[in-house]
């Protein structure tokens, strides 16, 4: 017996994923800006789903308040741009800001468990929303435009934004991928499976969770940055809305909580639903809520988790598998 991570399928698929990323990078060169903008939205969803899954699927942390970091990213961009920073540099700075702020928040948020953590994070998002509403320079309650983006010609702007979205998505997915494959990944999975047992084995649970929390802070901040870059206008009512959490929960639960591929599938599904149905209609949201609840109750591993379990399939090699090695008997 030996332990292996790469299977033929996963080698093929990892190569395929890289090829998809390269192909996506060429999209703005070929297609209409309308499509480019839509694909940017898709990448934002992928990023958000992956980050929420990092928290809940690998850290056991169910947050209903990740919109706090989306808001910091979005408003941070506006803030830096207003202070004379070039828009795209402002976006990078705002992402770093969101990640930096997640660190002090983690100091106490990670002491909370289950519902306390979930609603505690929600309250933090509400507090941020109120702070923005109190600040006239950020447009208070009525919202604000990222006017500095007008300096770019629209087609170029959309292309730049798309490339930034692609870069962010690739960076954060690769970071999560490497994190899960590192020795830390095994301890994270131990925490997910049984936190108390992991702690008793000497896994530094708090430190591992902090890593995920800060990663998700950066990632959701980046998503917020992309939201304002894509739509050019934000208001606290929508950017700090708990609806973001609803989307994230839907994508991850349907795709597969605690699987690497699942959230990506969930994001593509949500994107397909959003482009097919009129967005924001109550029936559509009733469907999302009911589906998420049903998956939580009846299919907790989600679509991908179930497929993986049934077929023993593994596309991206984040886990380990035990395989029969040829000639093992002789060697032993």
């Amino acid at each position: 017996m030996r332990v292996a991570r790469w299977t033929r399928t996963s080698k093929l698929f990892t190569g395929g994923t890289a090829a998809v990323a390269v192909a996506l990078a060429c999209v703005p060169l070929v297609f209409e800006s309308d499509l480019v903008q839509k694909l940017t939205t898709l990448l934002i969803l992928v990023l958000l789903a992956a980050m929420w899954n990092a928290l809940a699927g690998y850290g056991g942390l169910l947050s209903v308040g990740q919109q706090a970091f989306i808001g910091i990213g979005a408003y941070g961009t506006v803030f830096f741009a207003d202070h004379g920073v070039t828009p795209y540099l402002a976006m990078v700075l705002a992402t770093l800001l969101a990640g930096a702020i997640s660190l002090p928040i983690s100091l106490f948020a990670l002491r909370l468990r289950a519902a306390q953590f979930a609603i505690g994070m929600w309250v933090i998002a509400e507090v941020m929303s109120i702070i923005v509403r109190l600040d006239q320079n950020l447009g208070a309650g009525t919202g604000i435009s990222l006017i500095q983006m007008n300096q770019y010609e629209p087609n170029f702007r959309q292309a730049y934004t798309f490339w930034l979205a692609l870069a962010f998505t690739v960076i954060f997915l690769v970071a999560l991928f490497l994190l899960l494959r590192s020795p830390l990944g095994a301890s994270l999975q131990a925490i997910r499976d049984d936190e108390d047992a992991a702690r008793s084995l000497g896994v530094r649970v708090a430190a591992r969770k902090r890593l995920l929390f800060v990663l998700a802070g950066f990632g959701c901040g980046a998503a917020g940055v992309l939201v304002v870059a894509n739509t050019l206008f934000i208001e606290p009512g929508s950017v700090f809305s708990v609806q973001w959490s609803a989307y994230m929960i839907f994508m991850v639960l349907v795709g597969g909580l605690g699987t690497f591929e699942g959230p990506i599938i969930g994001a593509i599904l949500l994107f397909a639903i959003q482009t097919t149905f009129t967005q924001g209609g109550p029936w559509y949201l009733v469907g999302l809520g009911a589906t998420a609840a049903l998956f939580a109750l009846a299919l907790p591993r989600g679509l991908w988790g179930t497929v993986e379990e049934r077929l023993g399939l593994r596309l991206l090699p984040v886990g380990y598998r035990v395989v029969e090695a040829k000639g093992e008997e002789r060697a032993a």
């Binding site: 809940a56 056991g60 169910l62 209903v64 100091l107 106490f108 002491r111 909370l112 468990r113 289950a114 519902a115 306390q116 979930a118 609603i119 505690g120 929600w122 309250v123 933090i124 509400e126 507090v127 109120i130 509403r133 109190l134 708990v242 959490s245 609803a246 929960i249 639960l253 109550p282 029936w283 949201l285 009733v286 999302l288 809520g289 009911a290 589906t291 998420a292 609840a293 049903l294 939580a296 109750l297 907790p300």
Partner: protein, 292 residues
């Protein structure tokens, strides 16, 4: 004097929050779960009362009395259909399922009743407008008194129920050890469903108070949930009287905060909640970490 008056109004407001929080506290106490749809259930209760008033023209109080049995039955069914299943799925499942339920309720209300803002203040008679000027700066509203008295009665009755009645013991026994409760002949499913029915009934009472004190719309629920949860946490999770005090502390913080700046009212409540959380769960460790 204005500060004193603000604090007094905060007590009345806080009594309302305590009623909202009561059901959350019961369900946490008995099943260790937080129902994220609790606020939406309260608002749903307000709509049930609203429909009865619209169709029959009776006073809001009569309509609430009629709505209560409906809510009790719905609460019982909620347990058997959704929550019971979610309890078997681990610590995150009840949160995920009730969060989904919350979105469903909000949007079904939106589809049925439109996003318009409503109030039942008009159908509650003179009670909503009557008030007394105690001294120059201190005023007491009849509604405030009613809510406070009802809150104390609700919590008092619950306390008596849990400490003096056989069904109350059965509920505590099931909360402490559901397996052992089954072994002495207690139907734990029935006890859990009854606890949820009770929680939903008190949520409806909270929704009713919301509707006669101010206004509500289909998306009022999440805010009510946050306030209710803040009251539970400030008062100490799992303690019933603590929830009453926590609600009042939250109400006072909000009305005093409003004295600083009208926009600061809700913020003050949030800050109190976060400070309590830090003090109770993270403060010592953070201080230690910084000291090192």
């Amino acid at each position: 004097m204005t500060l004193l008056n603000a604090a007094l109004q905060g007590v009345f407001l806080g009594a309302f929050y305590a009623v909202l929080a009561c059901g959350l506290s019961i369900m946490f106490g008995v099943m260790r779960i937080i129902n994220l749809a609790h606020g939406d259930i309260a608002v749903f209760g307000a709509y049930v009362v609203f429909v009865i008033v619209e169709h029959t023209g009776v006073s809001a109080f009569v309509a609430f009395a009629a709505a209560l049995p409906v809510m009790v039955v719905l609460g019982y069914l909620l347990q058997l259909t959704v929550l019971e299943r979610s309890l078997k799925g681990g610590i995150l499942t009840p949160l995920l399922a009730t969060f989904g339920l919350s979105i469903v309720i909000q949007n079904l209300l939106q589809l049925t009743f439109s996003p318009d803002v409503r109030s039942l203040g008009g159908s509650a008679g003179a009670l909503t407008t009557a008030s007394w000027q105690v001294t120059g700066g201190l005023s007491v509203s009849a509604l405030g008194i009613v809510v406070l008295v009802v809150a104390v009665l609700v919590f008092g009755a619950l306390q008596l129920f849990l400490s003096r009645t056989r069904f109350g013991w059965m509920m505590r026994a099931t909360a402490e050890d559901a397996d052992a409760a089954e072994l002495v002949g207690i139907n734990s499913r029935h006890v859990y469903a009854s606890a949820t029915a009770l929680a939903v009934a008190t949520a409806a009472l909270g929704g009713f108070f919301l509707a006669i004190r101010s206004v509500f719309d289909p998306v009022s629920g999440p805010t009510q949930l946050i306030f209710a949860f803040e009251a539970v946490v400030i008062g100490g999770m799992g303690s019933l009287w603590g929830t009453l005090l926590g609600g009042i502390a939250l109400g006072v913080a909000q009305t005093l905060g409003a004295q600083v700046h009208p926009q600061f009212s809700v913020m003050a409540g949030h800050l109190l909640f976060l400070v309590v959380l830090i003090a109770r769960y993270g403060g010592g460790r953070i201080a230690l970490r910084v000291a090192r």
